[in-house]
């Protein structure tokens, strides 16, 4: 019984983990290219969630269609924030970009709160489920998982095969050298930043499949922490590391929840969230460059 439950939870963990991983890719991309830590990461996920909510509840649009919409919105937001703020702070001390991205996150939270109010919302997109024996997986979650993997693969191909992607890769290797070779480094930064934000907002769509009623303007905070744990697990600058880090994190999160549920006198949900924080600190202590570093 225990092992069935554990197995079921682990499968759910992998499914969720893929989405977590995809949600973190943007963070790692932005850090890898611009060396900027987007502390407002969770807020962009939240924007994606609200976008999905709006499209579905008000316009009846299927969340899967919301994904590319969210991506575009995200890229737009990324460009706006890059050109108005981030670009001017690349040369400034680290404190500046940390506070700037943080403030952008706060701004987004407050704007969404203004428009949508601060109550918890959700939506019901029922498309059936599949029974795997030890666990039942709603198809919406399965679609989210597949969507995440697809996006990760697309990103990989973009980096490898397109000119823009190669340009960005060379900027990561050596920005001065890239500049000398005629690559528009500023453009690469803008592209990477908006791509990263686009990915993050799109991931918000996918994550809503896992939150029946949890959508609210302040939901981002919890995801920011998870994203950082995952990013650090996977090596802060590698989007692929982030993806695999997500899988590992999903497993750990669900596995630990099952285990904690067996300990009397504790609240498993809260303790699981505490555990993710401990993992973050432990990794930062031992190997800040990530346990699963991949290029």
């Amino acid at each position: 019984m225990f092992f069935e439950q554990l197995g079921g939870n682990l499968i759910q963990g992998v499914v969720l983990g893929a989405v977590y991983g995809m949600a973190t890719m943007g963070l790692s991309l932005i850090f890898g290219v611009l060396k900027v830590v987007n502390v407002g990461h969770g807020a962009f996920i939240m924007v994606g969630a609200f976008l999905t909510l709006f499209l579905f509840s008000s316009l009846g649009i299927n969340p899967l269609i919301a994904i590319p919409v969210a991506f575009m919105v995200g890229m737009g937001l990324g460009l706006i924030f890059y050109y108005t703020t981030i670009r001017k702070l690349i040369k400034a001390p680290e404190l500046a970009t940390l506070l700037a991205t943080f403030s952008i996150g706060v701004l987004l939270e407050e704007l969404i709160k203004l428009i949508f109010g601060s109550e918890f919302r959700g939506y019901n997109w029922v498309v059936g489920k599949i029974d795997l024996g030890i666990t039942v997986l709603p198809l919406s979650k399965l679609y989210a998982c597949i969507g995440s993997i697809l996006i990760a693969v697309l990103l990989y191909l973009w980096f490898k095969k397109t000119r823009a992607g190669s340009a960005v890769r060379s900027v990561v290797e050596d920005s001065e050298g890239a500049r000398v070779c005629g690559i528009n480094v500023g453009g690469a930064y803008a592209l990477s930043f908006s791509l990263g934000i686009g990915l993050t907002v799109a991931s918000g769509v996918l994550l809503t499949m896992f939150i029946p009623v949890g959508i609210n303007p302040y939901m981002g905070g919890g995801y920011t922490l998870k994203a950082f744990v995952i990013a650090v697990l996977g090596g802060l600058s590698s989007p692929y590391g982030a993806f695999f880090g997500g899988l590992v994190f999903g497993l750990i999160e669900n596995g630990s929840y099952t285990l904690f549920a067996y300990i009397p006198g504790v609240e498993p949900f809260a303790l699981t969230r505490f555990l993710s924080f401990v993992i973050l600190l432990v990794i930062l202590l031992i190997r800040p460059t990530g346990i699963l570093s991949a290029k």
Binding site: F31, E94, L107, L114, E267, F269, R273, F274, F277, L284
Partner: protein, 332 residues
């Protein structure tokens, strides 16, 4: 610099606090506003000791306020049975708040302070969350139910004294903390600690090569800042409103407010947190009348503008303008 002249910069700070106190005392209905302003000034002073002087951001700062609140709460609830202690329970509460925030800051610092800027920020991002979920998860100190200790406080001090504490003396203690934090800030600034912190803030690697043990000084600033936060939580939260509830005392929005206050006023300056606290506090107060809940929406873009265009903050710009004049030595 002559010994006494070194302390001149405290004059405008203390004068501001005195004015706030007098206004609150003597004008009808002003006490509430003044107590809020003093809280923000104290928060800013405490936060400035670390973020302003080292240039590192601790996103989990509110955890120290929360821990301090628990310290006071624990003292009151656990020691109420020892009647002979009387009002000393409050003193012990402050002591416990300081000890607990020191311990937490040492624990967090041990991991986080070895890390550079961005990694440090990442490490602290979850501190307030982490600690809150530890308390809730492991059901420590009543877990997610929190503690209400109005009755205990009444028993310890007697009804009237307890009421006076909640409505008056707790705020006076906030003022004392604000003044103390300002004093310590200046002492640091004028000592080797201040020079080391400025050096490591400007260029950590060059500072190391110059012989500065950057980790040691970061720890000093971090623990100092945490202690003041703990004391502040103990009085402004535990004593003013005798209950503690994890989601409230670990709310990230206090960290946001601290950041706004310090950046607005001028990070790393002595007067900055006072100016920032006043501007933010007054704005929030009046906004709450006309546009409640809007203050963060308004201040978030303001902070962005400050970061990009005026990173020195109000006092920073004032310092530049008054350079070479007589007023210079008061604006630090």
């Amino acid at each position: 610099m002559k010994q006494i002249q070194k302390y001149f910069p405290l004059i405008p700070v203390f004068a501001a606090y005195l004015i706030m106190f007098l206004l609150g005392e003597n004008m009808e209905g002003m006490w509430q506003l003044m107590s809020m302003l003093l809280f923000y000034c104290a928060l800013g002073q405490a936060f400035n000791v670390f973020m302003g002087m080292t240039g590192y951001v601790d996103f989990g700062y509110v955890a120290f306020l929360g821990v301090g609140t628990y310290g006071m709460a624990l003292s009151i609830t656990r020691l109420v049975q020892y009647e002979f202690l009387g009002a000393w329970i409050i003193v012990i509460g402050f002591g416990l708040a300081m000890v607990m925030s020191t311990l937490l800051s040492m624990a967090v610092g041990a991991v986080a302070l070895r890390l550079r800027g961005a990694y440090f920020a990442i490490a602290t991002i979850g501190v307030n969350e982490g600690f809150r979920f530890l308390i809730e998860g492991a059901r420590i100190w009543n877990g997610s139910e929190g503690m209400i200790f109005t009755a205990d406080l009444n028993k310890v001090l007697g009804r009237d004294a307890a009421a006076a504490l909640c409505t008056y003396w707790a705020d006076i203690m906030v003022l004392v903390i604000a003044a103390l934090a300002a004093f310590v800030t200046l002492v640091y600034m004028r000592s080797k600690i201040g020079y080391a912190l400025t050096a490591l803030r400007e260029d950590e690697d060059a500072a190391k090569v110059m012989g500065i043990n950057v980790t040691k000084f970061k720890i000093i600033a971090f623990i100092t800042s945490a202690c003041f936060a703990g004391l502040l939580g103990a009085t402004a939260w535990a004593l003013k409103t005798p209950y503690v509830f994890p989601p409230e005392v670990f709310e990230i929005h206090y960290t946001i407010e601290a950041i706004i206050i310090v950046m607005l006023g001028g990070a790393g300056t002595l007067l900055g947190p006072v100016v920032g606290g006043l501007v933010y506090g007054i704005s929030k107060y009046y906004l709450s009348i006309f546009l409640p809940g809007f203050q963060l929406l308004i201040f978030a873009p303001i902070i962005l503008v400050i970061i990009v265009l005026f990173p020195e903050g109000i006092v920073g710009m004032l310092k530049a303008k008054t350079k070479g004049t007589g007023v210079e030595r008061f604006i630090v």
